[in-house]
């Protein structure tokens, strides 16, 4: 109870026509907190199970035979898994990088349009996000096979087994659904910037495109990062669209040999393996590593940021 200084009576909610729920408040708060944590736990439930599987000494998915870390180093031993991981990262990183860089410029271009036009293009921009994966994947495959045939018709000299399908189609397909996420996340930040910002920069003698890199991009950094994160997330977990559009990397090497690499990404590979055989728990181990690594990086980032912020306040004082 607060220290009293005067002897005025205490005002109550009742006399102002409201019911007093303050007694329920702590209970309410506890319930809400519990529910919130249960929900977050729910989102991570499958991740936790995957982590447990990765520590299982047996390959059985339903019986925990004992704690073991053997599957972690084993990731490196499994060539197919490593190939799939490499393909996944190559595709996702390239797609994310291109989508982030070009997508930012595209967003700037769309932002420069008048409102009505921009809204029309944004509508189209949302189609790849909202379209069903299976429709996107299948229809892109149709178009790519058409391009494939076409290219083969035009360039008759191509090796018989030449195919557009492979990293090229996979990256193109991934770009198809990652661009919109970048554009979508950059656009609101562009709207938040001062419309005179660019004019000010150019007024100071900066060339138009330099003004973008020096002035605009730093101002919309947060949007670009969010777009990049989402693009990467969508890309790394994509299954259906990749399923229809994957193939092999097939390069003629200088010594006359061919370099072939299966470019099925992890999802497609898992789907293929799962239908036929047991997955080795190394896949779980990899999944767990990825989650833990990201979480740790995130916490580290936040902690370093907190420190910096504190330092800044002190300087201000």
């Amino acid at each position: 109870m607060m220290k009293r200084y005067s002897d005025y009576p205490v005002a109550t909610l009742k006399e102002y026509g409201y019911r007093d729920y303050s007694k329920m408040k702590p209970v309410n708060k506890v319930l809400k907190t519990i529910l919130a944590y249960v929900l977050i736990l729910g989102l991570y439930l499958s991740i936790i199970v995957i982590a447990i599987e990765s520590f299982n000494s047996s390959t059985s998915m339903s019986r925990f035979a004992g704690f073991s870390l053997e599957w972690y180093p084993n990731i490196l031993q499994e060539e197919d898994l490593m190939t799939a991981i490499a393909a996944t990262f190559i595709v996702s990183l390239i797609a994310t990088a291109i989508a982030t860089i070009l997508g930012t410029f595209f967003a700037i271009g769309l932002y420069a349009m008048n409102k009505r036009k921009r809204q029309q293009w944004m509508l189209l921009n949302n189609v790849p996000i909202l379209n069903a994966d299976i429709v996107t994947g299948f229809s892109l495959m149709l178009i790519f096979s058409f391009f494939n045939q076409f290219i083969k018709m035009v360039f008759v000299g191509l090796r018989g087994d030449w195919s557009l399908f492979g990293p090229t189609t996979l990256i193109l397909a991934h770009l198809f659904f990652t661009f919109p996420y970048v554009v979508l996340n950059v656009m609101p930040k562009l709207k938040e910037t001062d419309p005179n910002l660019m004019d000010a920069a150019m007024d100071l003698g900066v060339k138009p495109f330099k003004a973008i890199t020096k002035v605009l991009i730093p101002a919309i950094k947060a949007g670009i990062f969010a777009g990049m994160l989402l693009a990467f997330t969508m890309s790394i977990d994509d299954f259906v669209i990749s399923f229809f559009n994957s193939g092999e990397l097939n390069v003629n090497l200088a010594n006359g040999n061919q370099f072939i690499m299966n470019f099925d990404n992890l999802s497609v590979w898992i789907y293929g393996v799962l239908g036929k055989r047991n997955l080795s728990p190394s896949v779980y181990a990899f999944s767990t590593l990825l989650t833990i690594f990201t979480l740790v990086a995130l916490i580290g980032y936040q902690m370093s940021k907190n420190k910096k912020d504190k330092g800044r306040v002190k300087v201000k004082k």
């Binding site: 490499a86 982030t100 018989g160 097939n250 055989r277 047991n278």
Partner: protein
């Protein structure tokens, strides 16, 4: 951003270094974990040919990979009906047996010959043409389908041995509380239903389709899946499921690896192979896309060697197609290595070369039939 590009570059270089290969390559389109690493090493060492394997999970994927010609595969290992389809569509090259001398040293098991004969017969019935499939294909592994069951359910084993297919399909009469799983391949479901009816599983008519639908509905399947079936029976979450015998052996070997005995595993879950049953045979064939014919023939020849075939079988768990390879496996019965002796024992139990039975390989049905069967199976699922 610079860091990102750097990271990509490093990844690219790293993967290039990891998977860079020199010398001729054999591009093999195969099922997952269907080729013993030791065999690959032996082959690569002997011939200096690098094997690049691509894994696909269904015959249909094999087919589409060949048809779409996205990669030029030198050797594919499709199953029986897909071989029929591929031959029919002229996707396969004839084998040059002069490059496969080992073929003369081995004898195919009786069952394998039956299967090839049956394939020829179905093709004849359908197209009026007589095709000798051994011209295009050399058997890789073969296997039966069976009913994998949860042996912790009292009386199930005895009932299966006594009444066979009925226990699995007639859910109202036998073990109404038991959970049943079916392979999630429409044609497999259709074929098993026909076998239960005493029909040839490769026949097709509207009446048969309707009867099959009734049978499948009455089985009240609680699960339609692929790989999950065997794992669920193993864990005791499912009581009966249609499965490859090889799938059972696969789980069996894993449990043996974990230190359990054959009897213990069989007491948990076992497989019953009905008669008649469906069989499959996976075959080495050379698709028209092949660029390295020499390597493909060498590989086929290499695998026909009984020792190599037995070695390959060690990690796979399906039946070897030649009597010579079978004998090599059986010779391990008295091995001191308990794993090898169990393996030999399992082969003797589940793949005995003297086993008599009627085996039906499944043929490739015309796409309109497949469409109808798929729709029928979807209707069964929807109505459950």
């Amino acid at each position: 951003m610079k860091k990102l590009i750097l990271a990509i570059a490093i990844m690219l270089i790293a993967t290039a270094v990891v998977s860079c290969s020199s010398g001729p390559t054999l591009r093999l389109l195969n099922w997952g974990e269907y080729l013993n690493e030791d065999v690959i090493d032996a082959f690569e060492e002997e011939y200096g040919i690098t094997i690049k394997q691509t894994v696909a999970s269904s015959n249909e994927l094999f087919y589409s990979k060949i048809v779409s010609n996205t990669t030029a595969y030198d050797l594919v290992i499709p199953s029986d009906y897909m071989v029929e389809k591929m031959v029919e569509e002229d996707l396969l090259l004839e084998l040059d047996y002069s490059l496969i001398p080992n073929k003369d040293l081995v004898t195919y098991m009786a069952g394998v010959d039956d299967i090839y004969a049956s394939m020829t017969a179905t093709t004849l019935a359908r197209t009026g043409e007589t095709v000798d499939y051994s011209v295009y294909a050399v058997p890789y592994f073969w296997g039966t389908y069976g009913i994998i069951y949860n042996n912790r359910v009292d009386g199930l084993e005895e009932a299966l041995n006594e009444y066979g297919w009925s226990v699995y399909f007639d859910a109202e009469t036998y073990f109404p509380d038991a959970s049943r799983g079916m392979y999630d391949v429409p044609q497999d479901a259709y074929a098993t239903a026909l076998i239960y009816l005493g029909e040839n599983p490769n026949d097709y008519s509207q009446d048969l389709l309707d009867s099959a639908q009734t049978i499948l509905q009455n089985a009240h399947f609680s699960q339609w899946a692929d790989d999950a079936l065997k794992r669920d029976v193993e864990a005791g979450n499912l009581d009966m499921a249609f499965a490859y015998t090889g799938d059972y052996l696969d789980r069996l070997y894993i449990q043996l690896d974990d230190g359990r005995t054959l009897e213990e595993v069989q007491a948990d879950f076992n497989i019953y192979v009905p008669d008649p049953t469906i069989v499959f045979i996976d075959n080495m064939v050379i698709p028209y896309t092949a660029t390295n014919l020499d390597a493909a023939h060498k590989f086929i020849n290499f695998l026909l060697d009984p020792e190599i075939m037995a070695l390959n079988a060690q990690s796979v768990g399906y039946a070897v197609p030649t009597e010579e390879a079978y004998d090599v496996i059986i010779s391990y019965l008295d091995s001191e290595d308990s794993y090898l002796s169990s393996w030999a024992y399992a082969n003797q139990t589940y793949y005995n070369k003297d086993r008599e039975g009627t085996y039906y390989p499944m043929t490739s049905l015309p796409s309109t039939f497949v469409d109808d069967i798929t729709t029928m199976v979807d209707a069964v699922k929807v109505s459950s």
